[in-house]
């Protein structure tokens, strides 16, 4: 707030003296300077360095060689990267709609104010988000345990066999479950906050027109939530394609299911720290960044076009 008001206060006397734009602008730059310095040093410079770095290849034999775009050519034809992208793409298609539907349902339910203990329920749904994702993955990993995990033990008690949560077939679903558990509450809070911002006159108008709660939700609330939903979806595109913590922790439990290239981010990490292919890891990171940018852009374009038609 103070950063916002200060320049105006400083500008006022100068306008009186007939001072003009340039000095005013300079003061403005002064105020954004701390951010710009940090942004340049911590974001732009490393990014530029990584881009430059991705044009080389450091070999054990032969040292550092300039290879131009070779690392990118390799990345675009690397079946291990493409497979990883396909996997997180599938994850996005299945997990995100499910999580968003749940988040929307909870947000609408809480917004009706018909629920008793609504604050407690809101907190309970939001709580998993406060658990660090590494801890969450460890906890779920324990629950999924094949012989001695609580779920397996429970199944045994009732004479059944628990499915192999950590097997190749179910692993992606098991991770999707963890991520849903972690982030439904977060999305719910975003949607709930957007719902609170809807002017109450609209509801009054709707009830005057004879709309019940279901009709209000469908025809008023959901359409007005569209911007918030799109925002959540864009975050989810990014989150899904950058999946790292959960598979990285689950890898210790099922190293042959979650291989080094299970997700693109895990792949980049392993390229850098196991194979010491830092240059190629940088190129893979950039390719992943482009895919996410393109994905988010296409998504926003699609939703905008639909809302216009």
């Amino acid at each position: 707030m103070s950063a916002d008001t200060a320049p105006r206060a400083a500008a006022a006397p100068r306008t009186a003296k007939g001072g003009k734009g340039p000095r005013y602008a300079r003061t403005g730059y002064l105020f954004v300077a701390p951010f710009m310095v940090a942004f340049t040093a911590m974001f732009l410079v490393p990014l530029a360095y990584a881009a430059w770095f991705s044009l080389f290849r450091e070999q054990m034999i032969g040292g550092n060689v300039f290879v131009g775009l070779d690392n990118y050519t390799r990345a675009f034809t690397d079946p291990r990267l493409i497979q990883g992208l396909g996997r997180v793409g599938l994850f996005f298609l299945i997990q995100v709609p499910l999580m968003m539907a749940l988040a929307l349902f909870f947000a609408l339910a809480l917004d009706t104010a018909l629920l008793r203990l609504s604050r407690t329920i809101r907190l309970a749904i939001f709580m998993p988000y406060a658990v660090p994702s590494v801890v969450a993955a460890l906890m779920w990993g324990f629950l999924y345990g094949p012989d001695f995990g609580p779920l397996a033990q429970l199944a045994e008690r009732i004479g059944a066999t628990a499915p192999d949560f950590l097997g190749a077939d179910l692993m992606l679903g098991s991770i999707a479950n963890i991520v849903t558990w972690e982030f439904t509450g977060y999305n719910m809070i975003l949607l709930y906050a957007a719902l609170r911002a809807i002017p109450t006159e609209l509801y009054e108008a709707a009830s005057v027109d004879g709309a019940g709660p279901w009709r209000t939700a469908w025809s008023i609330k959901i359409p007005l939530l569209r911007p918030a939903i799109v925002l959540c979806m864009v975050f989810s595109v990014i989150g899904s394609f950058q999946l790292f913590n959960e598979p990285s922790i689950m890898r210790t439990l099922a190293p042959n299911v979650i291989v080094a290239d299970y997700t693109p981010n895990l792949y980049a990490y392993n390229l850098a720290f196991v194979g010491q292919e830092y240059n190629y890891a940088a190129a893979v990171s950039f390719v992943l960044g482009f895919v996410i940018m393109a994905g988010s852009y296409v998504f926003m374009l699609a939703t905008n076009r639909r809302s216009r038609s």
Partner: protein
């Protein structure tokens, strides 16, 4: 889901790690032909501070003994990380040209990855050449280069043997198997009698264990490699024998495939799911502390053999003290590396207090070491068993200069195939291909097996 941005941490670190500023780099030491005793004595009287990176618990004891012998040299012990993190930090410092330790803990399997990039100090001129007779042959072979260089001083080893549950063996009438055929029969017998129990567990992504298994079978996939010429042959008949054997037992369902050192595995070991653990000489003491509830039920024996009557074993684990050639104090660092691993008091403490399995002939013959009776093993002299196994490890086994990558590729190809009980021929070929591709990208000239790849 803004916070999921946190997942980018790995990526940020990946980009930041290689920031190397060559301008501040210290030129590597060019070791002289010979360093005289007078020069060594003078250096050891010069006040010096050495940086020593290690994860060995209780190493302060050996450091104290060294500082007592050489009061002018102070050693700063740093536990930077364990395993992969330890090496990643060392590599980053070496690339930057400063901040690397003078001396560090380096496993045998990682020595070539540092010698290929010319980061290790040849310890021969500092008196290490004369130490050969003190160490077991196969261990000495592990620390020497093709030109006779001494890249590191051995500290501990892990010749492989078999720990077994004597009570389960007795209950099911199983004799201690001396051949792998007998072991397979025992696996079938046990699992048929008790469907919850398995004779052993094959850890499907434990590369170093599998390397030990190859070693015992006589496979030497990287044997003959020198400098930029890399021999790669993981599809040899010896290697196929090992993978076919284990994949077969897994397909029959008589061997389990849990990842080792996981929660599941610890629980299973405690509850008697596995009747044996095929492990290394550091295994007995480790098991004692992690499966305490099974005390008194275990015994140790040599590994089953591929050829009846043969005596062969591989090695799994163990490490050395290596000196990096960016050190400013090569003499002091070299003397320190030698002292803590050869001084009688130091090595005895390592073997009998820190339970590191010794590589020196003197200790392996020392009755105080071999005669130790362990309660957990029903009073058996376990050290004696492993001391005898140590004599049967072949000196012909060479590591690749990028063993971490080899293990990662193993887990994704052969490890997975064995765990699924699938055909391992294709998996071995895929492993060979991955290693070859990686090696070529790293600038090696790959000499493959006859079939090529």
């Amino acid at each position: 889901m803004n916070p999921r941005f946190r997942r980018r941490t790995g990526l940020g670190a990946a980009l930041a790690a290689p920031l190397a500023f060559a301008a501040c780099a210290r030129p590597p030491v060019d070791p002289p032909e010979h360093v005289s005793e007078a020069e060594i004595a003078a250096a050891m009287r010069t006040p010096t501070e050495l940086n020593f990176w290690t994860w060995v618990p209780g190493i302060e004891k050996q450091v104290a003994l060294f500082e007592e012998a050489y009061p002018d040299v102070k050693v700063d012990v740093v536990n930077a990380a364990q395993g992969a993190g330890h090496y990643a930090k060392i590599r980053t410092a070496l690339r930057a040209g400063r901040g690397a330790p003078d001396v560090a803990q380096v496993e045998y399997q990682l020595i070539p990855s540092f010698s290929i990039t010319n980061h290790l100090l040849d310890l021969r001129p500092y008196g290490a050449g004369e130490l050969e007779d003190q160490f077991v042959d196969w261990v000495w072979a592990q620390v020497t280069g093709p030109g006779g260089e001494v890249w590191a001083i051995p500290q501990d080893t892990g010749p492989m043997g078999m720990l077994y549950r004597a009570d389960l063996f007795e209950a099911h009438g199983i004799e201690v198997p001396e051949t792998w055929d007998a072991f397979a029969d025992a696996a079938r017998t046990l699992h048929a009698a008790d469907p919850e129990a398995y004779l052993t567990n094959f850890p499907p992504s434990q590369g170093p264990y599998f390397a030990g298994a190859l070693w015992q079978a006589g496979a030497d996939p990287f044997g003959g490699s020198e400098g930029p010429d890399l021999h790669v042959d993981v599809t040899s008949a010896d290697a196929k024998r090992v993978t076919d054997y284990w994949a077969g037992l897994v397909a029959e369902g008589v061997v389990s495939t849990d990842p080792d050192f996981s929660d599941q595995w610890y629980q299973a070991a405690n509850r008697g799911k596995y009747a044996t653990w095929l492990t290394a000489a550091w295994g007995p003491v480790f098991l004692q502390s992690t499966a305490a509830s099974t005390s008194g039920k275990w015994r140790a024996a040599p590994l089953p053999q591929w050829e009846p009557g043969a005596q062969a074993a591989g090695n799994w684990g163990g490490s050395t003290s290596a000196v990096f050639n960016q050190t400013a104090h090569p003499i002091q660092a070299a003397v320190f590396a030698q002292f803590i691993n050869t001084d009688p008091e130091c090595t005895k403490a390592m073997a009998t207090e820190q339970f590191l399995f010794p590589p020196t002939k003197a200790l392996l013959e020392d009755p105080e070491f071999t005669g130790l009776e362990l309660e957990f093993y029903g009073g058996q002299r376990v050290n004696e068993v492993f001391a005898q196994i140590s004599e049967t490890v072949s000196p012909d086994f060479q590591w690749s200069p990028f063993q971490d990558q080899v293990y990662a590729d193993y887990g994704a190809t052969v490890g997975t195939a064995v765990a699924e009980g699938a055909d391992t021929d294709a998996a071995l070929a895929a492993w060979q291909d991955r290693i070859t591709e990686y090696a070529r990208l790293q600038g090696f000239t790959v000499v493959g097996n006859e079939e090529g790849s």
